[in-house]
């Protein structure tokens, strides 16, 4: 395998349990460097849990996660890990500190990692997500949902990671604002050659952003398909077909 095609993330037989409940059962996936990979499924399918397990936010009880050549140890992730992997959460109202200015929130990751040059980096990050310096000293409540999600993306990008974990980044937004944020995500991915792992329940969104996707149900991967095959209807699992039918919208019988 050449270094270029070595997987960015390699997940093998991963189990996550919460008490008696197995949220993930024997999940194995390879996510290639530079690709955008989608995780699709209904609530409780384990798609968010898988993302959180990669970020070290869910208790893994079996299996392994490799990032490049390094096997990640269970439990708390290292600082080096966080400078390479960052996460954007679903709810832009809950994921920003309500009493800190945007400036302060963007400074925090830099301070934790002991990176200087904050001023320039913050301005650059704000510019990159299309907000501009005027937003720097505002508070989250002064921003709209879409603007907050841009701040969350700026905060994830400020450490210059190579992998971005996206947990339903647009499902709390209006359709028109969703389009803007999706365009932004595509652009930063192109500019920085990022690897995306994106959780969503919207097949339209996932096939728009991602090249490949895994359909999950009940803590297991039902199937892994390319977006092109999904669009062409070349899927093997009945459940994937059910999801596709559901995404076509309501039909009167």
């Amino acid at each position: 395998m050449t270094p270029d095609t070595a997987p960015a993330l390699s997940i093998r037989s991963l189990d996550v349990t919460f008490g008696p409940f197995r949220a993930l059962q024997d999940v194995s996936l390879d996510i290639r460097t530079g690709e955008a990979f989608g995780l699709v499924g209904e609530s409780g399918s384990g798609k968010s849990t898988l993302l959180r397990a990669v970020a070290g936010l869910a208790p893994t009880t079996a299996g392994s996660i490799r990032m490049g050549a390094e096997t990640l140890k269970p439990g708390k992730r290292s600082r080096a890990f966080h400078s390479r992997v960052q996460m954007v959460f679903q709810d832009p109202f809950g994921s920003l500190h309500p009493r800190q200015t945007i400036d302060r929130q963007l400074l925090e990751p830099l301070a934790i990692h002991g990176i200087g040059d904050g001023e320039r980096r913050i301005l650059k990050a704000l510019d990159e997500v299309g907000l501009g310096a005027g937003f720097r000293f505002r508070y989250p409540h002064q921003l709209s949902g879409g603007q907050r999600q841009r701040v969350a993306i700026a905060r994830a990008l400020i450490l210059e990671p190579s992998i971005l974990l996206l947990d339903e980044p647009t499902s709390a937004l209006d359709a028109s604002v969703q389009a803007e944020v999706l365009n932004l995500l595509e652009q930063v991915r192109r500019d920085r050659k990022l690897t995306f792992v994106m959780v969503t329940h919207d097949l339209g969104v996932v096939t728009h952003i991602c090249e490949r996707l895994a359909v999950m149900r009940g803590g297991q991967v039902v199937e892994t398909v390319t977006s092109a095959d999904l669009i062409a209807g070349k899927v093997s699992a009945g459940y994937t077909r059910d999801l596709m039918r559901a995404s076509e919208g309501f039909r009167r019988h």
């Binding site: 028109s176 604002v177 389009a179 652009q187 919207d202 339209g204 995404s247």
Partner: protein, 277 residues
Amino acid sequence: MTPLLQVEDLRVSYATRTGLVEAVRGVSFTLGRERLGIVGESGSGKSQTGRAIMGLTPPQAQISAKTLRFGDIDLLTAPPKLRRNLRGGRIAMVLQDPKYSLNPVMTIGRQIVETLRTHARVSRAEARQRALEMLAAVQIRDPERVFDLHPHEVSGGMGQRVMIAMMLVANPELLIADEPTSALDVTVQLEVLSILDRLVGERGMGLIFVSHDLRLVSSFCDRVLVMYAGRVVEEIAASDLSRAKHPYTRGLLDCVPTLGTHRHPLPVLDRKPEWRL
């Protein structure tokens, strides 16, 4: 025959520190026994319109209208007691998130029975019977068991069906559904919609369906009002949606990624100041 609901020049405004904010600015429509969709982005005034009809606008807001009539009742001058009787009785409302809109410390059965007995003189036994029938009508498999559960013991989709059951048990003539399926999974969404669709059809109710999802609304309703900045910018028959004229409606339709279309980047709305006028 008088229409079920007449709304003419409805305005809802809030006094804030920075002056009067008009959330709804002159909305007019009439509703028969049909399905009407109201679509728009957050802040377009769609929910405020629904709430004003329901009588749930907070007291600090100012409401004015040339006409706001439900059947023969003038809602603008109706005393609070009459509004209370209408609410949940002849006009009902399904809200977005069952997690927050059901009473968490009361069993599902008691909540449905309470709604019914507030609006109809029925015995305890009959109320229980009708609540069970209603739970069965929203396709809950084991109504007897669900009757005694608390809201946290059921899933989101089931909670939403419970809310629909509760809203329909008193046989309302008008149902206002404010984003009834936005908090649900795609697969469950369709199930809940088809239940709502069947019940509205069978009972001959008027329905106002408020949502930000233009495609969903147009597949469900007969007629759609598109709102922007507190005004109706376009009214269109759902079947004519592909011939929508207003750039805002067209923009809302265009900006959603769908299976099998390749558009990079996605078209975004270019909000024109003259749309506000």
